[in-house]
Symmetry: C2
Subunit: 211 residues, 2 copies
């Protein structure tokens, strides 16, 4: 897969309740204010077929879905998302801001479910070739604080029903990936007030906008 | 994946209209008459989640599904099918008779859609490890004869809407695989009358039952 990426690909990651939605709005607004054509999307999801797959994997009634099946469905949704939406947008010079991407697969299906990172890497290469985000924000906070925030929202999906131990593994995997790729993955302390969190994000965005 | 296969795994393959259903009934009856506990199933499909994926990939309204997505969905359905149904049955000493399996993926997504065989092989290994059918019947006849038979049946699905050229590639791939693995894949001439076809199948089954 040869992708002539004229736009930039930014992803936002984190465990439950870290404040992704507010900060996605913030990122989108900063980029639009800078005159950038932004496509905001999410994973699993994006185009209609990928959203259908999303419903399937988040459905709390799918309690017998095997780990390998879940992972393949995530990458099936991603393949459709890349070909129909992300790659055409990047090639057209738009910036894509995506709520979760393959780091989440390593964190949830790898760290959480226990699938070997090397098996995930095979599918990542198969689906994406060399395509990776240019910049990833990892919103990080203690798992129990995030879960306390998330529990006050809507009905939990199939992942949100997992226990704290699952999310500790997810968080640990996210942090390990961030430390392995510090140029790409910026850890944002999501514990303080929203304006302090957004100050951190704004500083990173200023740098990339100045490039 | 280590599978202690006490039962045998038999698959039936072929392009549209070659008479798979009648011959699946025939195979199932012969095995049952021999006192064998048979599980009959199909691909894509089997357990409920795999049947849901089947609906998705056969749906004629899914006209924008990308080739990679289609292939990943096939293997997602297969992973679920293997873990929930096929492997437990084989380990329990049952014989599994399956209407299509991974040879169909090579034939339809490889030969038909043009995905590299080597890319399919990566997913086959990822999902199945070393698990392969013990015996595969390839029902073979000229594509146009099969299509003429198939067109008199129910509404065509998303694959049946393909043109003759697509199915020529499918047939060619099936035959090439059969020639590469003559011990496993038995080519059955599906052109003559049903009793002559079943005579050929019966002879192969007699051999495997005598082992």
């Amino acid at each position: 897969m040869v992708v002539n990426m004229k736009g930039r690909f930014i992803t936002l990651e984190g465990t439950e309740g870290v404040g992704k939605t507010s900060n996605l709005n913030f990122i989108e607004n900063i980029l639009r204010d800078a005159g950038i054509d932004v496509v905001r999307t999410r994973e699993p999801g994006g185009p209609p077929l990928s959203e259908t797959i999303r419903k399937m994997v988040l459905d709390t009634h799918q309690d017998d879905i095997c780990d390998d099946t879940e992972l393949l469905l995530m990458f099936a949704a991603r393949a459709q998302h890349l070909h129909q939406l992300i790659i055409p947008a990047l090639e057209a010079g738009k910036w894509v801001v995506c709520d979760r991407f393959t780091d989440a697969t390593y964190a949830y299906q790898g760290g959480g479910r226990g699938i070997d990172q090397s098996r995930i890497a095979i599918l990542e290469k198969w689906v994406q070739g060399d395509l990776r985000p240019d910049l990833t924000f990892l919103l990080d906070m203690p798992v129990e604080d995030g879960l306390a925030r998330a529990s006050s929202r809507s009905e939990p999906d199939r992942f949100e029903l997992e226990k704290q131990d699952f999310f500790e593994h997810v968080r640990h995997t996210y942090l390990r990936r961030a430390k392995a790729e510090p140029e790409r993955v910026k850890i944002i302390d999501a514990s303080p007030s929203l304006d302090k969190v957004q100050h951190q994000i704004g500083e990173v965005l200023s740098e990339i906008l100045a490039q």
